[in-house]
Symmetry: C2
Amino acid sequence: MNKTNSVFIATSIDGYISDKNDELDWLHYIPNPDSIDMGYGKFTNRIDAIVMGRTTFETVCGFDIAWPYKKPLFVLSNTLLELPESYKTKAELVKGSLTEILEQIHKKGYHRLYIDGGTTIQSFLNEDLIDELVITTIPILLGGGSRLFAELTHELKFEHVESKEFLNDIVQSHYKRIR
Amino acid sequence: MNKTNSVFIATSIDGYISDKNDELDWLHYIPNPDSIDMGYGKFTNRIDAIVMGRTTFETVCGFDIAWPYKKPLFVLSNTLLELPESYKTKAELVKGSLTEILEQIHKKGYHRLYIDGGTTIQSFLNEDLIDELVITTIPILLGGGSRLFAELTHELKFEHVESKEFLNDIVQSHYKRIR
């Protein structure tokens, strides 16, 4: 089966995924009265599992909402010894190099992975392990915060699959890695 | 007359405008056999003059091409004493704060300005002096180089005017500042 690592994430025009105060409110500043999901449902339907870093995991745990994931979730951390008791049925801790982690997850039968969280995405990109980027751009310059992209040892070329507009104001571009 | 400051620039997916070696070759990695200009001609038709920083000016002077500008060019520098002799008919040096510089240029009858060069764009954005952004995204992650955007003291909201695709692979998004 084809193994793919995909990113589906929203950024500001200037490439931040959270603002200077670690807040995410700006993600919703364009009114979305019908709560359209901008392709998120379709995207998650075609993935087998989610891989995220500890920071993103802890952020999600801190949201005052029902558990948002319907797919198995792997939390990547080389420092955490175990997940909090209440999350043990929802997520699994994975350790090791990215290649080792991917091997563990693939062995469990999950091949199409949703890679989430800034640091995790950056690590995967730096080892050229991302096959697909779906980037949703919110029309704001945040001027600071956490960046989606960091320095890479090598340039990575992509092809543009398609771009879509949502709510007149949001552009979503889909790119595939050229190998 | 309406005064507008516009940016028309190409970046990598990760927001760089030149690569780690200060090179621009990647701008042309998508084949463009008919040399389509991706709206650059239409854009320059609706501006009165160009404002760029010293670094960008010197980069352009270093290109082995005919002088590329048909509109008056203002070079912003508080350190240069004068422009090289051979450029004195092509460009004019301007000094002072951005507000002072804009005042000088407006007095000469140029109101719709094309603001170019990373540092200059960043300075204009930081004083909320940019009205329009036209960003052309080349499908590559450069992983380093000069960034289009820098830190800002304030968030700036934009509205999305339109996005266009060129050569199947290049997405150009047009944003206007909401004031």
